[in-house]
């Protein structure tokens, strides 16, 4: 299990490849990657992510441990960045390895649902016009937790 919180970009392809390699007992690997999305038609200059340094790593570890309790998993990877990013940059990724695809998919979705609303990250959007605003949490993200 690797949980990484960093401001530097990460190499998605390399991380996915490394995670997927050399496991002869895991038949299913799922990855999710979140990308900074531009506003419809452009206009996003940068995405800024603030986090709570003392708490972030622990919160992510707790979520990943919970996933390992609920599903039969061989391995879990979580990478989440903070700081300034531009459209197209990768914000974060999770990866799960399991003997069966159902476990790998469900665990990855669980990690994402909890990471969205229970890990201490906050997004701020900076528009090309110079305005900036904190991204509001969505009711649907809170609702997503009720399925687990």
């Amino acid at each position: 299990m690797r949980i990484i919180v960093q401001d530097a970009p990460f190499d998605f392809g390399q991380e996915a490849e490394t995670f997927a390699n050399g496991r002869h007992d895991m038949g299913a690997i799922v990855t999710f990657t979140g990308v900074v999305r531009d506003f419809r038609g452009g206009g996003l200059n940068a995405m800024e992510i603030e986090h709570y340094p003392g708490m972030t790593q622990k919160a992510l570890e707790k979520i990943a441990e919970e996933a390992r309790c609920r599903w039969s998993l061989g391995d879990v990877l979580v990478i989440h960045r903070y700081g300034q990013m531009t459209p197209g940059e990768k914000i974060m990724m999770v990866a799960t390895a399991a003997p069966h695809r159902k476990d790998a998919f469900e665990a990855a979705e669980y990690l994402m649902d909890y990471l969205k609303s229970r890990a201490p990250f906050w997004k701020k959007e900076h528009s090309t016009g110079g305005e900036a605003g904190w991204v509001a949490a969505k009711d649907e993200d809170e609702d997503a937790l009720t399925r687990w």
Partner: protein, 81 residues
């Protein structure tokens, strides 16, 4: 204890962290004390439903005890991922 603020709570109060000496027993009592201090605190805490709290880096709620707490953090709902 250390009181931390994140995202727009930090911006409204105007600082990320401060030392607070208090006899408040719960998060809610601490919030009442802070609101009574100055308008910027009152404004930041005006809608408690829009806020989340962590005591010693664990998510909890406004009824939680802060006796012996080293660190209390206030912030809006999280938007990771």
């Amino acid at each position: 204890m250390d009181v931390l603020y994140f995202a727009w709570v930090r911006e409204r109060i105007g600082l990320p962290k401060e030392k607070v000496t208090t006899d408040a027993a719960t998060v809610a009592e601490l919030v009442a004390e802070l609101r009574a201090r100055e308008e910027r605190y009152d404004l930041a805490f005006s809608d408690p439903a829009a806020l989340r709290v962590a005591v010693d880096q664990e998510l909890t709620d406004f009824d939680a005890s802060i006796r012996n707490a080293r660190e209390v953090a206030f912030f809006p709902p999280m938007t990771g991922g």
